[in-house]
Structure formats: structure tokens, C-alpha cells
Assembly symmetry: C4
Homo-oligomer: 210 residues x 4
């Protein structure tokens, strides 16, 4: 008997599939890159099966993992990056959804700011779209971590950053894209939309100011 | 008994919802930014409820305010920026609609020209899309006001500018986006489409000319 | 009794409306700019009524003019630029359609190359999309004429250029957009799509090469 | 009696038509440029008839050729570039599909890197979308060949490159676009989507880094 709630899984799968259609329509999940998850309870998350077209997900494309990233009740394979999702659910019960996208703007910004280790976002009204922010008079440093095919290394770096206690909604990986999270799928999509907007403004202003 | 006409409210709500779909499809209202209103009579306006997805508005997402920006016949909350709409209806009976959008082009132009205080638009045939213009042989200065979370400050600045009597169809707020208006929803959309086009041309020409 | 064939008018109106939907979807006809026409016979053309939304044209938005640009059998008003269509039908019986669009790329290129008087397009395979071209090993000079609200001045300049006998598929007007033509609506759309592509490549290469 | 399987042809035609709709929606096949094919067996391929709108292909727009590029069982004409498809099927039985697209990014990159003879793609996670790659820690050199209207010259150059034995998923032709291939239509589309993404990132980073 599965240790998670089947109805919660179906609701999570439908919400993930809807998010995937919205993201794919914007071209932010090219060539079967990206992976998406949502919390089911305090020990399980629903997550996309590896290699599927993210714009055409059905319930059969979503599986369950525990917070060690191990498959539960299935022999399907989740993304190699599953740990980047589950370590967030384990460390913060307020996180209900993690979405990894791979837009051109995210990839370009990650490469351009990799040496700095972060992109500073400052003076934009849209910073208010990040949960908890009530003003444009603040700065957010979106971290850029080095890319690696060895996930535990990335988990260690993300944990060290989160341990500093700064407000955190996401991070970039160099040459790779964005990880973002939120209370639920809707808030996480709002965070992705805000980061995409803010990073694009930064890149375009950088071109215009030189 | 409400002091406004219910049929007028429904017509205004439907027109605002249609405008929202058109603007959201172009990505000019990201992450629940933006707010929209339409005049009902000489003392009331219909306006979007705060925080709603501007691409999927229904009648339930539109409420009524008076020209002090106070809710009428509802306990829902309109945008913190409601005063930026209602002071326009109060000062000019010819204004029937005010739409605030938040595109990347608008945000980038506002930041780039904030120090100048305006963006000069000159020599474009599309200037004829602004109501009352019959030729490309003219210049329009689109003002850029500093951003603030304190609306009365912005109202004071906008009023001072309008008091100079220059022809006016809209303004930018630094890091924040565009406020535009017109006789009705259709004319206001035409003004937004024209400003978006003209600002994008200016930004691209600036890159190409350096 | 009208001097033109009613069935031909209906067919032309439907083809123009379909072209308008295709062009509007690409954002090449913003803010009720643009105007479209198709030849009916050796003395009449169908043309869009002034000020209509070019993405939602119906038969009622298309009227008939003679080759002096005068309305036939209607008191509706065609575009102020009607003469730019009809002088082409008069001088070349091979021209069956004239479409005027107003994209950002066309406007930016027209401003940037106005001083040169033309944009040179060279070395592109897509030059083969222009009727009669069989190779990329050629150059096309797309003229840029100064903008004016006085149409006879423009007609005079276009005629002088066409009188030189160079192969001609269209021209730009400074700050204003593109006029293009072809044997029929389909060929004219192909010419517009090719010019838009080629002008965008030129602008982007210009940025990348400096 | 045809020497190929009719059911295989119909399946290939439907897959090619679906790919064409997907590519045309992204504007990667402008003005009837582009041509598409899929292997039928060890001596025949299905290929698009010349000059058709690639976003609206039906079974009647797909014909059969042998690996010398000659039409089989039809008097319709395939693209002048048919040999660029069939020589790939002849030399590699693992190739099941060849798609030629013509996006702005592909055309611009081809012109900009023609003198170098290739575009180096390095450090991108999305390199993993190319079949057989398991890491971002590698570099792919996408060749750029000079354009010509004489196909055997191009075939000779492509063959010489493939004879070196480097992993190969596609190449650019100067001013002309991309040829890409894969095991089947789906994999080939994934390769095109990856190259388009990677080339666009390269072009944008080049602008941002100068």
C-alpha cells in the first residue's frame, strides 16, 4: 500500500501539468530540459519522470519520490536532478513547489554573471512579486552556482547559501537555468515570471548602457 | 442601494476583462502587476480588484470606487495605485479609461530615461495613433516620474505636469511601467500599443546608433 | 449599377481579410496603421476602409476605388495613402496586390537607412523568395523614401524609381513602414515575410559586427 | 507497382507535416524556404514537394525519392536541395530524418561565423539534448559551409567533414540556415530546438560581452 495520498498525487500532477503547458508555451523548457515537482506531505513529493515533453505532461508523466530522491511505488526514473528538489522540501516545510526552467534569458544571465556569483536585482517595482516583498526599495541577489553533473555538490552549495538566512526564492546554475520555489505552484510560477522579467531587463539595460 | 448603474458596471467589467486578455497575451501584465479601470459616471469608476491574474479577469474581479479611491458597495480591496486612476477621472471628464501596464520595454525605457525625466518620441508615423495627432512632424515627450509606494506624491507630480496643458496620453514611472488613458477602452489600448511600439523603436535605435 | 464585378470584390475582400489576420498575428499592423488592397480589374481595386482593426477585417471593411483613388459606389473613406496603391495598379498590369505594413523592424530600418536612401540586402538565400530571383548571388537595394503627409510627392518619387527599370518588390518610407506588392495576395505576403526576415538579419548583424 | 511501403509513406508524411506545423509556428520556415524528409527504407525517403507552405503540409505535399534524389512514382518535383537529404540516408543507416530550417538566428550565426568555418558551442547544459551527450563539459563545433546553388559541391564538403568521424547532428550553410538530423523526427526536432537555443545564446552573449 502506498504511503502517500493518491488524491493529493492526482491534484499535484494536474497542477504540474498545467504549469508545464504555461512554461512550454513561453519556450522556457526547451528540448525536454526542465523538471517540476510539488510537495505531497512531509515525506513525499510528486515529480516529473525524466525525459518527457514538459508542454504535454499527463498524470502518467508524474511519479512519487521520497526526500532522499528515491522512487516510491514505481520503477520509473525521475530526473538526475531530483535531489535539488527534495532537499528543499526537507529543509523548509513552507516550500510546496519547486520548478526548474531553462530559458534563454536564464541561461545567458547565468553565464554572464557566473564569475560574480550572483545577479543583483534592484530598483524594480516587480520585486514586489517575490513573496514577502512590499516595496521596490530593496535589492535581491540571485545566486549563480557552478554547473556540475554531481548533484550532492550542488545541494551542499545551495544549503550553505540558505543557511545564511537571506530571503530566498530561487537560484541560477551556470549555463543551465533557474531553480525557483514557493508556497504552491501558483506562487512559484509568479516567482519564475518575475525572475525572467527582471533578468531580461538587466541584460537589456546592460547592452543599452555600454 | 448602489449609487451607480449596474448595467454600466457590467459593460465596463466586460470591456476591462477583454482588454486584460489582449494585454496579457502580449506579456505586458506579468506576475499580477498592472491594474485597469473605466469610468462609470461623473463620480464612479470600475477598477480591477488587487492581485488578480490580469489575463483571466471575470466580472467578480472588477469592483467600484469613487474618485477619492474608496470602495463603493463592496469590502474588496482595489490596487494600492487606485488614486492614480481616480484623480484622472476627476480632473478630465473626457477620460473614460485608464490602463496601467508593465512590459519589459516600458520598464527598461523608464529606467534608462529616468534621469532625463522624459522620453522624446519624434519623427514616427505612428505618433498619429495618439488621439488628436494628424502628422508625424511633431515630437511627444513621454514623462518619466520617480517611483514611490506613496501614491499622493505621484498624484501631485502628475497633476503638476497636466497643469502645464501639454497634450497628454500617458506617462512612465521609473522601474514600474506605463499609465495610459483615452476616451474609452479601445482608444486607450491603441495608445498603449503605440507607446510600446515607439519605446521599443527608440531603445533599438539607441543600440544601433552607438 | 457598379462598374466592377461583385464576386471578384467578395473574393478580394476575403483574401485581404485573411492576409490581415496573418499580418496582425505577427504584430506588423499596430494601432490601426497599415492598409491593404487587391486589383479587381484594369480600372478598380478593393482596399481597406480607413481606421479599421487590420486583424479583424470583414467584407464590410473593404471598399472599391478607381485608379485615381476615388471611392466607387460608396461614401466610405479609404486610407489617405490610397494613391500609393492605385498608381502601382495603373502603371503595371502584373501587380495584383499591394500591402502596406508597419512592423518595428521595418520602422527601425527605415530610420537607420534613411540617409543612405536604401538598404542593401546581399548574400542571403532568402532573396530567392522575391519573385524572379533564382540565386543568392545578387544584391537587392530596398529604397527608403522620406515620409510626407502629401501623397502625390511620394507617388512622384516612387514613379521615378520604378522608371529606372530595376526589379522592384517594395520600398520603405522613413519612420513609417513597408509597401510591398506581387502578382497576388499570396506572393505579396511572401515578399513581406522575406523583407521582414532580411531587414531583421541586417539590423542584428549590424549590432553584432560593431 | 511502387517499390516502397505505402503505409510507411503515410506515417512519414503525417510525422513530417506535424513537424512542419511545429517549426512554422516558431517562424523557422519563412517564405516557403526549408525542406523536410524521413527515411522509408534502405533505398527511399519521403520528402516535401518544392515550394509548399511548410506550416500547412498534407499528404499530397510529400513525395518519394531514391537516394540519388530522383522522384519515384510521381512527376512532382522535390526541392533543389534533395541531394543534401539523400546522401545522409545513404551514408548512415542510423539517420531516420533530415530537417532543413531557416530561422533568423541560424541565418545570422551562419553569416557571422562563416569566416571561422564553425560555431563553437561550449559549457551549456543543453548540449545534453544532442543524442549521445551526457555532460555539459564538452564542446561541439557546428560547421558553417559556404552557400552554393550547386548541390554536389555541398555534398562533397559535408561528406569530407563526416568522414573525419566527429560526432555530427547538423551543419549551417552561410546565409541559408540549418540542416539537422536524427534517429527519427522527434529526435531531429530536439536537435533543431537545441541548436536554435545554443546559437541564440552565443549571439546574445557576444553582444553582451563586447
Amino acid at each position: 500500500m502506498p504511503s502517500f495520498d493518491q488524491a493529493a498525487l492526482e491534484a499535484a500532477a494536474d497542477a504540474i501539468a498545467a504549469a508545464g503547458r504555461w512554461l512550454a508555451q513561453r519556450d522556457w523548457t526547451p528540448a525536454t530540459s526542465s523538471n517540476f515537482s510539488a510537495r505531497l506531505d512531509d515525506a513525499h513529493a510528486a515529480i516529473t519522470v525524466s525525459g518527457r515533453d514538459k508542454g504535454a505532461l499527463g498524470r502518467g508523466d508524474i511519479m512519487v519520490v521520497d526526500f532522499d530522491g528515491l522512487a516510491v511505488g514505481t520503477d520509473r526514473k525521475s530526473s538526475a536532478e531530483t535531489l535539488l528538489h527534495t532537499h528543499l522540501y526537507r529543509r523548509d516545510p513552507g516550500i510546496g513547489c519547486v520548478l526548474h526552467t531553462h530559458s534563454r534569458v536564464q541561461t545567458i544571465a547565468s553565464r554572464l554573471y557566473a564569475a560574480d556569483g550572483h545577479v543583483r536585482l534592484e530598483g524594480y517595482e516587480l520585486l514586489k512579486a517575490l513573496a514577502g516583498n512590499a516595496t521596490h526599495e530593496m535589492a535581491v541577489d540571485l545566486p549563480v552556482f557552478p554547473n556540475t553533473q554531481h548533484m550532492p555538490d550542488l545541494v551542499t552549495q545551495v544549503d550553505a547559501w540558505l543557511d545564511t538566512g537571506v530571503p530566498a526564492w530561487g537560484y541560477l546554475i551556470d549555463g543551465h537555468g533557474l531553480y525557483a520555489w514557493g508556497r504552491d505552484v501558483g506562487e512559484t510560477l509568479r516567482h519564475i515570471e518575475a525572475f525572467e522579467f527582471l533578468l531580461d531587463c538587466e541584460l537589456q539595460l546592460r547592452r543599452l548602457r555600454t
